[in-house]
Each structure stands twice: as C-alpha cells, then as structure tokens.
C-alpha cells in the first residue's frame, strides 16, 4: 500500500526545518486556484444553506404561502420549549443514539479482537462485514422488515420452533418497536466501527504485547495496559462519529416503522422532516434543527474535553 511511506516523509521533513525557513510565497495564488473549484460549491451549497437555515429558525417561513416571511425573533424556540411531542421525540432520539452506539462499539470491539487473532474463517467474517456497510439503508430496513414480519418472518418462525409461544408483531407493538429498531441500527453500523477498531489494533506495538505476555500478564491485563491505551484515540473518534450519525439517522427508521407505533420510534429527524415537508412549517423545523445542532455540539465538547483530560 502506498500509505506506508507517509510517516517517513513527514518525519524527514520535521528533521530539517532550518534548511528552508521561508515558504515560497509565489505559489500562493496557485493554491487558491486549486482550492476554488471545491470552495465555491461548499460555500454555496453547504455553508450558505447552513447559515440560511439558522436564520430561518427565527422566521415564520412556511411552504406555499404568498405573504412575505417575517422575523419572529425567538418565537419558534419558545414554542419548541413547550412542545411535549418534540421533547418526547428528542428523548427517543437520545435513547436510540445511546442504545445503538454503545452495543455497536462493544460488539465491534469484540469482533475486531477476534479478527486480529489468527483464526480460520476470518476472511468469511470480513467478507460478510462488507454487506451491511455497502447496502442502501432503505434495503437494510426492508430486509429487517422481512425478518420481523409476524407471519413470513424468520424471527417468529424461530420463536415458534423453540416453543416460546406464537411470536409477535415486533415493529408495531409498543414495547418492542424501539428495541427492534435499535437492533437494526446496531447491525447496520457495526462494520465501519469494526474496521476502524481493527486498524487501530493493528497499529498497537506487537513487541509490547509479547513482552507483557512473557512477564506473565493475563489476557485482560494485556488488553488494559497495552492494547487499550493504543486503541483509545480511534475508539473515541469512532464513538463520537457514530453517536452523531445515529442521532441524525433517518432512512432506517423511516422504512422500518415511519416513527410508529404511536410515536415510539419517532426520532427527531423524522419529526423535523414531517414538520417541514408534510406540514410545511419551515421556520419551526429549522428551529428544531438548531436545537439538535446545539445539543450535539455540547455533547461533542464534553466528549472532547474528557478525551483531552484523559490524555494528560
């Protein structure tokens, strides 16, 4: 792989900074020329809309209205504060995000540790792990609907075979809908996490591992003192990303339950989507988006702070 050469290069460069103290200023125009093709779409279709979206949150924008949109200050946010449906959806969103991210990480860590061993059939697990990663989310949802199907699904058939009753309608009963959906989320996101952790594992120093084994350290001690310190940065990064992605997820649950039964699986994204594109309340939905960004930022800041503290 070409990537192997990268560390050497930067190391060599850092070793002789005094040889060439001043960068060549002449080529700076060249840099702008290189950056511009990407910068224009980023500004027009990403940064711009983001700012526009934040501004919309302070207006009464609605779809298909002839009257001009007006500034309404923080009215949308005051409404949101009293919108129990939104906070219920937010609570479910957090339950979902934590409920998916944590098992996802633990299962992925287990699988990565297994794949790091010299086991037979390792290749099969690697090949299978591709499937959930490459699949369209809509297909993942459809597939699990077939698994959960009350009559034609394999889950209920297994339940019946094991003599555990007649099975149930997993996705439409109040008690099982959220756990059932969470299981799908774990399944769908496990591969990326496994691959990231596996790469982290393969960067841990082998010699240290062997030395610890010679000193008589057990598997758990070796994991805690050698593997985990090396793995921690990757683990923190992938968990943070997973959490954000899960909080933003839409397609899976849209296909599985559309937020039902009785709003039990209505994630904030589904709620905001309905508000914006079913009821046309653009301003209000934008305010929801802002609240979600704020919460994600705070959680991310806490996460980063704890990581920095851990590094000291």
């Amino acid at each position: 792989m070409t990537s192997v050469t990268a560390p050497e290069r930067s190391g060599g460069r850092a070793g002789r900074p005094s040889d060439r103290p001043a960068p060549r200023p002449r080529t700076d125009h060249g840099a702008w020329f290189l950056v511009l093709p990407a910068l224009i779409p980023i500004l027009l279709l990403s940064v711009g809309p983001l700012l526009y979206g934040i501004a919309l949150a302070f207006t009464d924008a609605q779809s298909g209205r002839t009257r001009a949109t007006q500034w309404v200050g923080t009215l949308n946010f005051q409404d949101l504060l009293h919108d129990t449906l939104f906070w219920e959806s937010f609570r479910i969103g957090l339950l979902w995000a934590v409920g998916v991210t944590v098992p996802q990480f633990l299962l992925a860590l287990g699988l990565a540790l297994l794949l790091d061993q010299r086991l037979r059939f390792r290749w099969l697990a690697r090949a299978l792990a591709i499937v959930p990663w490459a699949m369209p989310e809509v297909v993942v949802g459809i597939m699990w609907r077939l698994v959960y199907h009350p009559d034609a699904g394999i889950l209920n058939e297994t339940v019946r075979d094991l003599g555990l009753g007649d099975g149930r309608d997993w996705l439409t009963s109040l008690a099982t809908a959220l756990p059932a959906v969470i299981l799908v989320g774990v399944w769908a996101g496990m591969p990326q996490t496994t691959v990231a952790l596996l790469a982290g594992l393969q960067n841990t120093p082998r010699e240290l591992h062997e030395a610890a084994a010679l000193d008589g350290a057990g598997a758990w001690r070796r994991f805690r003192t050698v593997t985990w310190p090396a793995l921690r940065p990757v683990a923190f990064a992938i968990t943070a990303l997973n959490f954000i992605w899960n909080l933003n997820s839409f397609a899976l649950v849209y296909v599985l339950t559309s937020g039902g039964p009785g709003g039990r699986t209505r994630l904030p994204m589904l709620f905001a989507y309905e508000e914006a594109f079913r009821y046309g309340q653009f301003g209000y939905a934008a305010a929801m988006g802002c609240v979600m960004v704020a919460v994600i930022s705070v959680l991310l800041a806490v996460h980063l702070a704890s990581r920095l503290k851990g590094d000291e």
């Binding site: 930067s10 990407a38 394999i154």
Partner: protein, 280 residues
C-alpha cells in the same frame, strides 16, 4: 502460564464467538435472498422455510411490473455517476493543496470536514430546498447531483488528502530538479501514483449517492424522476404476504451494484480513511 488445555478452551470460545458474529451478520441477508425466490403461496404459509420449497423467479418479473424499477435504476445511475465524477474532479486539486501545504488551509479543511459531519441534515435540507426551488431545480436530477456533490465532498477530501500525503513530496522535488515544469511533474509523477486513490474515492462517492435516500425523498416528487431507494419504499405500506416476494426481489437487485463496487474497493477505502485520520 496458561497450559495447552486452557489455550484450547480459549480457542474454542473464540470460534464460537466468531460463529455467533457470522450468524448475526448473515441471517438477515440470507433471509432476504430466500424470500426473493419464494412463491406467493409459500410466503402466505405460517411456517416459512430457509430454502424455498418451490423456488421461482416470478417475484423479479412482478417487481418490474409493479414499479418503474428500470427507470429508477437509470435515474440512480445518472445521479451517482455524475456526482462521483464531479466530486472527484473538484476535490482532487483542493486535497492536493491541503496535503502539500499544512497550516491554515489544512486546518480549515479538516475543521469543515468535521463540522459538516455534525449538523443535522434537516437544518441544511430546508434552505437547500428553497434555494433549488428558486433555481427551478426541484424534481430534477441536476439538483440532486449538486446536493450529492457537496454531500460527498467532506469524505472525498478526507480520503484524497490522505492519498496525496502518501505520495512523497521528494519525488516531485526530484522531478523539479531534473527540470520538469510544475504541470509536467503533476501529470507524469503525481497523477499516476494518485490514480488508484482517485478511482477508489470516486467509486465510494458513487456508492454513497446510489444508496442515498433522504435528499432524494425530499427533492424528487414525481415517480419518473425518483431514484431506486425512493421507488423501493413505494412497495411498502399495507403489504400482504403476496407482495413480500417482489419487495425482496427488488431490494436484492438494488443492493447488487453497491456490493460489487464495494467488494472491489474495500481495502483501499479502509486504508484511505485511516491515512486521513492518522495524519491529521
């Protein structure tokens, strides 16, 4: 020290765990395939089997009859190919600039890549919807391509920057010393080394766009314009047992392109993700 017996027990445990993972990963996918080949009568029976007793391809034909799958696949293909090509063309120069000069530009790019992962799509989709509506690009593949390009840029930049950094700058400097001009160096030294990474990035952008659902759902209104994932959801609803077969068949077909492409590039994607991560 652990004796051979405990080591054997550990190995057995490891294989059992691996088996459990294999089952968990494979079962839903195998069930999808099994359902796709079952005749309606079997799907209606109360005791579904793993292997269809009377396998049939009728579900595939029925799926094409029920929904405009071919047209949807064509729409998906156009959107995904255009988005992937444009994203790579636009991102490669920026990735090059970011990788070759550290400092503010590099920090800004990394910052944007991270931030863009954090904001909810809903905050971006409403303004995007309004902007595209003013440009009369709602319900067009062009509008969707624009959104996909921007949407796949963070990841493309991330990966490409990693690939550029893996090409030693010394090589370029050596070519310059030998009297090659800047453009000549890029074309004959850098580009060949970078090509595999660019192809992998383009294919990944292709899969991302092919699989994408949310933007397509919001932006495409009429069935003739809709992409495959959106059309697949039309199979849902109050489905009777008879409709499960076509649903499974269509879902299975829609997955094949992603699976094939992904199998080709998987190794390179993994290494690209990590070089980006390690070097930032």
């Amino acid at each position: 020290m652990s004796g051979p017996r405990t080591r054997g027990a550990v190995r057995t445990g490891q294989y059992l765990a691996l088996l459990a993972y294999l089952v968990f990963l494979a079962v839903p996918f195998l069930w999808l395939i099994s359902t796709a080949f079952k005749p309606a009568a079997e799907l209606g029976s109360l005791h579904p089997t793993w292997i269809p007793e009377d396998p049939t391809s009728a579900n595939f034909r029925q799926a094409f009859d029920e929904q405009p799958l071919l047209r949807a696949a064509a729409n998906s293909l156009v959107a995904a190919v255009c988005a992937a090509l444009i994203a790579v063309v636009v991102a490669t120069p920026m990735a090059y600039a970011t990788a070759r000069r550290r400092g503010r530009l590099s920090a800004a790019t990394t910052g944007w890549v991270v931030v863009s992962q954090a904001f909810p799509f809903v905050l971006v989709i409403i303004p995007l919807f309004l902007v595209l509506k003013n440009l009369h690009l709602i319900n067009t593949v062009t509008g969707l391509v624009l959104v996909y390009v921007v949407w796949s840029l963070p990841f493309a930049l991330w990966m490409l920057t990693g690939y550029v950094r893996a090409v030693p700058a010394e090589l370029e400097e050596a070519a310059a010393v030998d009297g090659a001009g800047r453009l000549r160096t890029l074309v004959s030294v850098t580009a060949p080394l970078l090509a595999p990474g660019i192809v992998a990035t383009a294919l990944f952008a292709f899969i991302t766009a092919w699989n994408e659902f949310f933007f397509a759902l919001v932006l495409l209104k009429t069935p003739e314009k809709q992409t495959l994932p959106v059309v697949l959801t039309h199979f849902l609803g109050a489905e009777g047992a008879a409709d499960l077969g076509p649903l499974a068949a269509a879902a299975f077909l829609a997955t094949l392109p992603s699976l094939v492409v992904f199998a080709i590039i998987q190794k390179r994607i993994t290494s690209g993700m990590l070089t980006g991560a390690v070097k930032s």
